[in-house]
């Protein structure tokens, strides 16, 4: 039986009595090679390799995923009936899943008629999804707000759910600050028969009274 040296990345076989000049750690087994020791040595190095790969992958995958979810896109399930009949039209069926585009709102630019998700002003742990009715400077006729006509202040916007009466929106808590904007719903991605691109559109009875925008 000769001397076999095992290294972590391969094996270098040397003759009995010679010295091993390789740079990696070698385990020299003289005489009879016991099968158990051989297997244990292999397992230790495999375990360490696995842990190293896992840790390095973890530190790459988690920040990249978190950054993607924060900056690019986010998938969310719509719950509730406040955007019927556009989202969740059947009460008994499964809920719609929408793709929220976070890149397009990074400069806080939204259009009237967009469906957006905002951090709820009543409960910061929750996000609500509504339609933008008016931007800053617009005059709105409200449905059930304390004032019948409202001018949307600077840096705010007016959001409403399509299903009036079943919706907690600006008609309850007033204009919402644009800083709470979270994302713009761009596609419905589930269920597959409702797959569509969401275009900004206003309901016919929710048009503005007047807007202060240049060139109206």
């Amino acid at each position: 039986m000769g001397v076999t040296s095992l290294s972590s990345t391969g094996s270098c076989k040397i003759q009995l009595g010679a010295t091993c000049n390789c740079s990696h750690a070698c385990v020299l087994i003289q005489g009879e090679i016991t099968l158990q020791f051989f297997q244990m040595a292999q397992q230790t190095s495999a375990w360490r390799r696995y842990m190293q790969a896992f840790i390095s992958g973890f530190f790459v995958a988690v920040p990249v995923t978190v950054t993607l979810l924060d900056k690019l896109a986010y998938v969310a399930r719509v719950e509730g009936a406040s955007m019927q009949p556009f989202l969740n039209p059947d009460v008994g069926a499964q809920c719609d899943v929408v793709l929220l585009n976070r890149w397009s709102v990074k400069n806080y630019h939204v259009q009237r008629g967009d469906i957006v998700s905002v951090v709820s002003p009543r409960n910061p742990k929750q996000k609500i999804i509504k339609r933008v009715i008016g931007l800053e400077g617009d005059f709105i006729r409200t449905l059930g707000y304390k004032n019948q006509y409202v001018r949307v202040p600077d840096g705010h916007f007016w959001i409403e759910g399509d299903h009036h009466g079943h919706s907690l929106d600006s008609n309850s808590f007033g204009p919402v600050s644009v800083g709470l904007l979270h994302g713009r719903a761009s596609h419905i991605i589930w269920p597959p028969n409702r797959w569509q691109h969401i275009k900004p559109s206003l309901l016919p009875n929710r048009e503005l009274l007047y807007t202060e925008e240049d060139g109206e």
């Binding site: 950054t67 924060d70 910061p124 600077d154 840096g155 800083g179």
Partner: protein, 183 residues
């Protein structure tokens, strides 16, 4: 030769993306350095002070009364304000000036906070525009950087010495959109 250059370029792009993502996660979830400008938080924070604001309290919803927070301005989401939290949701706030005979009170609504600057005479805050939603808060100020050492900012009032305007502080990362103005 072209292949090796392409390989190196791709490797560089990969590393940039990886470290960019790690930096984004650090700024978003751990903390960032912020340059403050304006007189509304004197004497605690003066013009051109550099402070460190940590993000964990905001994400874990542990902001408390007396904290100094950095929040997005309710009237311009690209601007930030730096004020002290005077009341959380449900608290009763006295809104009348000290000279008034009859005191008026308001209650802070659900999901909102009441902010006031330390320099009450020269600060526009919740006394002018009302309570702001909690979702606009970005982080809690916990350290003020003043050469040659850092010193912590306490909950109620700072116990530091006279504030000095700080000079160039090298080696700190500052976000380009994080300069504050007292509004």
């Amino acid at each position: 030769m072209f292949r090796s250059m392409l390989g190196k370029a791709l490797g560089l792009v990969g590393y940039t993306i990886q470290y960019g993502c790690i930096a984004h996660c650090a700024f978003e979830y751990i903390g960032e350095f912020v340059v403050c400008s304006g007189p509304s938080m004197e004497p605690t924070i003066v013009n051109h002070d550099v402070v460190f604001s940590e993000r964990m309290s905001r994400h874990l919803f542990k902001i408390q009364k007396g904290d100094i927070v950095i929040a997005k301005s309710p009237f311009d989401p690209n601007m930030n304000i730096c004020k002290r939290v005077i009341g959380l949701e449900g608290d009763k706030i006295c809104t009348s000036a000290q000279s008034d005979l009859f005191k008026t009170h308001t209650f802070v609504p659900m999901g909102h906070v009441w902010l006031e600057g330390d320099n009450l005479r020269n600060s526009t805050d919740s006394r002018n525009y009302g309570p702001i939603p909690y979702g606009l808060i970005r982080g809690r100020v916990c350290l003020k950087v003043r050469q040659p050492s850092v010193h912590p900012i306490g909950r109620q009032h700072s116990t530091g010495g006279p504030a000095t305007t700080s000079d160039e502080i090298t080696g700190f990362l500052m976000r380009s959109n994080a300069s504050l103005k007292a509004v």
